[in-house]
């Protein structure tokens, strides 16, 4: 099979990337391993999606459906139940239910999302019992199959999925006995802490972690303790809490194993403002690139990657000199890390802060000049910040900082 653009992953980023690539006049093949488009949105039956992108509040499946309908109304070829085994130079190797297929293409958009960090990755101690699951697995268990992980739950980590699941479990009649967060603050959205935890009076203990999971065949309880400044448990504070399941919401990891080895990586894979990686013709968008707070943001990123992957494939992508984006120690990362020195128009820098800040400016400097300054009442580590920059003001490398 031959096509201009292959998009890997049919979640919000992949669907919007396919639509934009197609709009440029490129032929597009969209591949997903599941039997329907939508990705993780399909299991997110709660609302709160779409406020930014569709200007109205939708559930996950509704959000997915809107994009999927557009995909099916376009000329995009959709391959479902298909797994991309390997990405080569202008080639994608796919395992389909009927065998293997090789697709020749000119550009590739990787939109294959993220996976959840596991008990093993955080060295959770104890036995490997039934009843310890990632929050996303439980979300699928409840929302797709109507099954429960237990009736007395403990949640480790206060990422957004954990917060959402605290509410979901409570609504399903499961007692959420406590949420433990090893950090002094949550990495989740403020609205989720309010709507999913505080409104349901679920205890959320900061600076606490689980030290041991105990039980015979299933989980029967956990030991938990306060942690010191180095995040080591203070054993004298260790207590027992009876429960029959443990949900983990301890972070997401981009599932970028398909990228060629030579792709340049820092904390995340290095891309430019068009979302192209250091390997020509390979673009990325969505959680596979960096972890987004909102599906809306992943969708917008998909549009950017799709547009330029489409232009690249039909040989209409202009080349420019590039500048680097550096950042201060108040910022944990910036995306993109490279910017094309275009003549006009705007682009957005996304960043996460290392700490919480009140009434500060996000500043983008070029040399000694502030080329952009944005006032923020509150900046939290849990919420991605964005700042818009005009291309015409770029003289050299950029420096992103938070200050007065």
């Amino acid at each position: 099979m031959k096509t201009d653009v292959v998009v890997i992953g049919g979640g919000p980023a992949g669907m919007s990337a396919s639509l934009e690539a197609s709009k440029q006049g490129a032929s597009v093949v969209l591949i997903d391993v599941e039997s329907r488009l939508g990705g993780i949105l399909n299991q997110c039956i709660h609302n709160g999606f779409g406020l930014k992108h569709f200007k109205e509040e939708l559930t996950g499946p509704e959000f997915a459906e809107r994009l999927a309908q557009k995909v099916y109304q376009s000329n995009i070829t959709v391959m479902l139940n298909s797994y991309v085994n390997y990405v080569g130079k202008n080639k994608v190797f796919v395992i389909t239910p009927n065998g293997q297929e090789e697709i020749e293409c000119k550009s590739i958009v990787l939109s294959c999302g993220a996976r959840e960090r596991t008990a093993g990755e955080i060295y959770l101690k104890g036995k490997r019992l039934a009843g310890v699951y990632t929050a996303g697995t439980v979300q699928k268990m409840i929302n797709f199959y109507g099954k429960l992980p237990g009736k007395n739950a403990v949640i480790l980590g206060s990422g957004d999925i954990g917060l959402i699941m605290a509410r979901r479990l409570t609504l399903e009649g499961v007692k959420v006995k406590s949420i433990f967060e090893i950090m002094g603050h949550s990495s989740g959205l403020r609205r989720n802490i309010r709507q999913c935890v505080e409104d349901f009076e679920i205890p959320l203990l900061y600076n606490h972690t689980i030290t041991r999971v105990v039980g015979d065949e299933r989980v029967e309880g956990v030991y938990f303790a306060e942690v010191d400044e180095n995040k080591n448990p203070k054993l004298e504070t260790e207590k027992f809490l009876k429960c029959d399941c443990v949900l983990l919401s301890v972070g997401l990891v981009p599932e970028n194993s398909l990228l060629p080895d030579e792709t340049k990586r820092e904390k995340f894979v290095v891309v430019d403002d068009e979302r192209q990686t250091s390997v020509d013709g390979i673009f990325m968008s969505g959680n596979v690139l960096h972890i987004h707070d909102l599906a809306d943001n992943a969708t917008e990123e998909g549009e950017i990657a799709g547009k330029f992957a489409g232009l690249y494939a039909i040989e209409k992508l202009k080349r420019y000199d590039k500048v680097k984006v550096y950042f201060s120690n108040k910022v944990s990362y910036c995306m993109p890390q490279l910017v094309n020195k275009k003549e006009d128009g705007k682009f957005t820098i996304y960043l996460r802060a290392n700490d919480n800040f009140l009434k500060k400016y996000i500043k983008v400097k070029c040399g000694d000049v502030d080329i952009c300054k944005k006032f923020c009442i509150g900046i939290t580590t849990g919420e991605m910040q964005e700042v818009e920059v005009e291309y015409s003001k770029i003289q050299g490398d950029l420096f992103v900082d938070i200050g007065d």
């Binding site: 959840e116 596991t118 093993g120 060295y123 697995t137 429960l148 009736k151 065949e217």
Partner: protein, 453 residues
């Protein structure tokens, strides 16, 4: 019917003996109390086929290790399971001790042993710290999946007329007119001869048989599993101590890296991982290696080694000549298993006829994989279905995982566990809430309505 033999215990020893008996053309039943084979020490060890220089010359361990190592190649070919002779190296600065080990190995009959240093050592272990100077290289060591080895042996036996009884909780064993009757709550099995290789449950079975019990000790070994990496390409041991072979770094046959085991004497069978154990491993690897890919850490587990004194026990019961006792099988038990089976069947039971020709086992990995279920390990629905339809029942999520590796990857089943539950449920006509992770009460999930208050 009255079986010629009953083998009690479905670990690597039990499945090896079971397989050997079937190859001698005799009838045999393999009895396991858990829902799957290889759920004890067999599922939680380093997965190594040892060369045989460690054990005291003249011991059963030395004899069975070297013989087992030689038998393995033919066996894995027939069983269609992967095995690689990657070699192993013991590293350290005590040249004298390495030489002693080397000499012992030669006395034990180990071939291809050599002391290496400098560039040669760096070349085979590039990530070894600079201050470690010497190594004893044993080329005959290799890698195998211990649980897959046991399962394949049982599957081949079952395909050729052997009977595998899982979830068989023995309540009573009686002996009358040269026939043993082994009863559970619901069933009776009759046989002429019995092998007790019940591992940690050895004494429970001996008690029911009215034969010798031994003082069994438990030693816990914790491990860290790292996702696929070429950090080490062969097993790297420190110099051995009284507690065992020490913490090693080894690839597995599937490409993962194992760091461990620790060695901690414990009173009760307990497979918990502990902060103490994990920290011990982390500290050790940092002093021995550089570039340890700890960021790719995906799991920890612990295995329980049983021991009865220093050596293996493989003998006929002095109280009943129709019973063979196999106990205290710790390292190198996996390597020794084929040799122990050969010795038990041919020497102790006197089945000296040539092996009969038997039907080969079928691999799960033939033809199209179908829709991919486990994304990390690239395991397809067709492969899981083949495992579910193989001659030994595959009843649990962990049973599927051991057979095809669905859930063994970096997401640890986060994405495929429920899909695997669905396939098991469909195969056995069960509901999702009936599916278990491993043991009888390890239900993965519950029905929603149970919790209406």
């Amino acid at each position: 019917m009255v079986f010629d033999y009953a083998v009690i215990g479905g670990g690597i020893i039990g499945t090896s003996v079971f397989n050997k008996i079937i190859r001698k053309g005799k009838s045999c039943v393999l009895i396991e109390k858990e829902l799957d084979l290889s759920t004890g020490a067999t599922k939680a060890n380093s997965g190594l086929i040892h060369a045989g220089f460690d054990a005291e010359t003249g011991s059963l361990k030395a004899k069975f290790n070297v013989r087992g190592n030689a038998l393995i190649e033919g066996l894995v070919k027939q069983l269609k399971i992967p095995f690689k002779r990657t070699g192993a190296v013991v590293v350290g600065n005590d040249l004298e001790m390495l030489n002693t080990l080397c000499e012992r190995g030669i006395k034990n009959g180990v071939k291809d042993l050599e002391i290496i240093k400098d560039d040669e050592l760096r070349k085979i272990v590039p990530n070894l710290n600079e201050d470690i100077k010497y190594g004893l290289l044993a080329k005959s060591a290799g890698l195998i999946s211990p649980y897959m080895f046991a399962i394949a042996l049982a599957e081949e036996g079952a395909k050729n007329g052997g009977v595998v009884k899982l979830d068989y909780n023995i309540q009573n064993i009686s002996y009358k007119n040269d026939v043993f009757t082994i009863s559970s709550d619901i069933e009776k099995i009759q046989c002429k001869r019995v092998v007790n290789c019940a591992g940690a449950g050895f004494n429970d079975v001996s008690k029911l048989l009215g034969v010798e019990e031994f003082p069994i000790k438990f030693r816990r070994g914790e491990y860290i599993v790292i996702d696929k990496s070429d950090f080490v390409k062969l097993s790297v041991f420190p110099l051995p101590t009284a507690l065992g072979k020490g913490i090693l770094a080894t690839p597995t046959i599937d490409g993962n890296i194992l760091l461990g085991p620790t060695a901690e004497d414990i009173d009760k069978y307990n497979t918990e991982t502990t902060s103490l154990g994990i920290d011990k491993i982390l500290n050790y690897v940092k002093t021995t290696f550089k570039n340890v890919p700890l960021s790719k850490n995906i799991r920890q587990f612990s295995g329980i080694r049983v021991s009865v004194g220093e050596d293996f026990i493989v003998q006929k019961s002095k109280k009943d000549g129709n019973v063979v006792l196999i106990a205290g099988i710790n390292s190198p038990g996996l390597t020794s298993a084929p040799a122990i089976a050969e010795y038990v069947v041919e020497e102790l039971f006197g089945e000296k006829n040539e092996d009969i020709s038997i039907l080969p086992r079928e691999s799960y990995f033939q033809g199209d994989s179908g829709k991919i279920v486990c994304r990390c390990e690239k395991i397809g629905e067709n492969e899981i279905l083949k495992a579910l339809n193989s001659p030994v029942p595959c009843l649990t999520v962990d049973a599927v995982k051991r057979r095809v590796r669905a859930g063994m990857g970096r997401c640890q089943g986060g994405q495929c566990m429920i899909e695997v539950c669905k396939l098991i449920a469909k195969k056995y006509g069960l509901k999702l809430e009936d599916i278990k992770k491993e043991s009888k009460n390890s239900f993965v999930m519950f029905k929603g309505d149970d919790y209406e208050n």
